[in-house]
């Protein structure tokens, strides 16, 4: 799965949780679980924004190939 899909899926799920909360569908019982899940999703999305997976060596190897 690409980072884009990971991000999109995570963000969509996150928005769904927020929407559920805003519409008052989430009660105290589910709250802890939902918040926990949302934190994981937020963390996942933030990580994508704050990390780049670049293999510099591979770039350089690619450039050396004539």
């Amino acid at each position: 799965m690409s980072t884009k899909e990971t991000y999109k899926d995570s963000f969509d799920e996150l928005q769904k949780i927020v929407a559920e909360m805003e519409s008052g569908e989430i009660g105290v019982d589910e709250l802890a679980g939902k918040v926990k899940r949302a934190s994981v999703l937020i963390q996942k999305c933030k990580e994508i924004l704050s990390k780049t997976e670049v293999d510099v060596q591979k770039i350089l190897d690619g450039l050396d190939q004539a």
Binding site: T3, K4, Y7, K8, F11, L14, Q15, I17, V18, M21, E22, I26, G27, V28, L31, V35, A38, I42, C45, K46, I48, L49, S50, K51, T52, V54, D55, V56, K58, I59, G62, L63, Q65
Partner: protein, 467 residues
């Protein structure tokens, strides 16, 4: 072939030609030509341009020229000012020339002035031609048809590390990383970014990036500082063809505020300056990050709200429960007290009632007992009396019966029978009461009331009839 007529030395010929030219071309002329090569010598400051005229790509005229330091500096300055381009190779010019002939250097044009408006028009025409060609080839919008990089994070940066533009660009990205933790990766592909060499070096770098394109999200062409000159390279057809057909989105930040170059027009995204381009990249992160932050905030706010609502509901319920309990307690207490009173009065009544009943029963029973005892005593007395008389009666009757029986027994005794004249006959000790039992001629004993006798039967008359 024999020499007929006069001969001239080369110098004499040259001098003659020089004289003819001078007498023929007495003034200066405006001439249109393309500077094939400018041949500027920085040491002396003079230029020795190679001028050409091309038709359908072929050179149809060519001539050397000279442009002295002073003229060059003045004209170049005007060009930079008007065209934003220096005097350079490949530019078409309208120049004021004086025709010169030198015995050693031959024919040349001495350039005295140039009309920048002509070159400007020509550059603009070249630009329009470039646009026209790209459109005809269907390439003008090609790069822009690439899908939006969802997160332009890995940047193939075509720039010059020593340029101000590069510094501005990387500074914004570094700040974005510092402030918001956004992770950018860029790899520099160094190139000359203005003037004629730009066309070649940028294309070389594009070819390099092509080999490793999988590692990048976008190509950024970043230039800035050093004045907005030498930008005509960005109207070059070859370069633009390479840019527009590049498989990654091409971003430009080459600092050209007005009159966009073709490269800026065909770019997937163009920003006025490198700083603005970097800010646009940061904005792409914001576009993802801000909704994320909003979600996070909403989540926190809503969580607090849900918990707080639940707490309020609970407190409300508790208050309600307490109030209800109190009122019920009071009501129950009243009910209870009433019940106790009721019970107690009932108990009192019942006790009293039962006591009365009991007393009545006791009295009735006592009375009943007395009567009964009396009755029973009377009955017993009477029974005793009856028994007594009956016993006496019975005894008397028994006595009478016994007396009667006694007398009867007395009458039946053998003595009494014998007395009355009856005898007992025996034979061999055995009493006889039937003649058939008597054996003839055997002695029989006869016992009478007084005395006994023996006799012998001689004759027997049997009779079946009893006596």
């Amino acid at each position: 072939m024999p020499v007929s007529g006069p001969s001239y030395s080369l110098f004499e010929l040259c001098e003659n030609i020089k004289g003819v030219l001078r007498s023929t071309y007495t003034q200066t002329y405006w001439v249109r030509a393309e500077i094939n090569t400018l041949n500027h010598y920085p040491a002396s400051g003079h230029c020795y341009p190679d001028l050409v005229e091309k038709q359908n790509g072929s050179i149809v005229a060519q001539m050397r020229a000279n442009l002295w330091k002073g003229d060059y500096q003045r004209i170049n300055s005007t060009f930079l000012n008007v065209l934003k381009e220096p005097l350079r190779d490949g530019i078409k010019v309208l120049m004021l020339v004086e025709i010169q002939f030198h015995p050693v250097y031959g024919l040349s044009l001495h350039i005295q002035d140039m009309d920048p408006a002509f070159s400007l028009g020509d550059l603009e025409q070249e630009k329009q031609r470039c646009i026209q060609s790209l459109k005809e080839e269907g390439l003008f919008s090609k790069n822009r048809t690439l899908s939006k990089p969802w997160l332009p994070q890995r940047i193939a940066l075509i720039s010059d590390a020593s340029s101000k533009g590069y510094g501005d660009f990387t500074k914004v990205l570094a700040e974005a990383n510092k402030h918001w933790g956004y992770a950018f990766y860029f790899h520099l592909f160094p190139a000359v970014l203005q003037g004629e060499r730009a066309v070649v070096t940028i294309q070389e770098q594009l070819q390099k990036i092509q080999k490793v394109k999988g590692h990048f999200d976008v190509v950024a062409l970043v230039r800035g500082g050093g004045g907005e000159v030498g930008m005509a390279c960005y109207n070059n057809l070859e370069l633009n063809r390479a840019l527009t057909t590049f498989p990654l989105p091409v971003l430009t930040g080459i600092g050209h505020a007005s009159n966009l170059t073709v490269a800026e027009q065909i770019a997937w995204h163009n920003a006025i300056t490198p700083t603005k381009l970097a800010e646009w990249l940061v904005q792409q992160f914001h576009n993802l990050s801000v909704p994320l932050q909003k979600c996070e905030d909403a989540l926190a706010k809503k969580s607090i709200e849900v918990v707080s609502n639940a707490r309020q509901e609970l407190q409300h319920a508790l208050r309600l429960l307490a109030a209800t309990t109190r009122s019920r307690q009071i009501r129950h207490l009243a009910d209870w007290q009433q019940a106790v009173q009721h019970l107690s009065s009932s108990a009192r009544y019942l006790t009293k009632h039962h006591n009365n009943q009991l007393e009545r029963n006791r009295q009735q029973m006592a009375q009943g007992m007395t009567v009964r005892i009396r009755t029973e005593t009377l009955n017993l007395d009477q029974s005793l009396r009856q028994l007594n008389s009956r016993v006496k009666q019975t005894l008397a009757n028994q006595h009478q019966t016994l007396d009667f029986l006694n007398s009867h027994v007395q009458h039946l005794s053998p003595e009494h029978v014998l007395k009355r004249g009856f005898s007992i006959v025996t034979q061999g000790g055995k009493p006889l009461n039937n003649t058939e039992d008597i054996h003839l001629n055997q002695q029989i004993e006869i016992r009478m009331f007084r005395g006994e006798l023996s006799a012998q039967p001689i004759e027997i008359n049997h009779s079946n009839e009893p006596l």
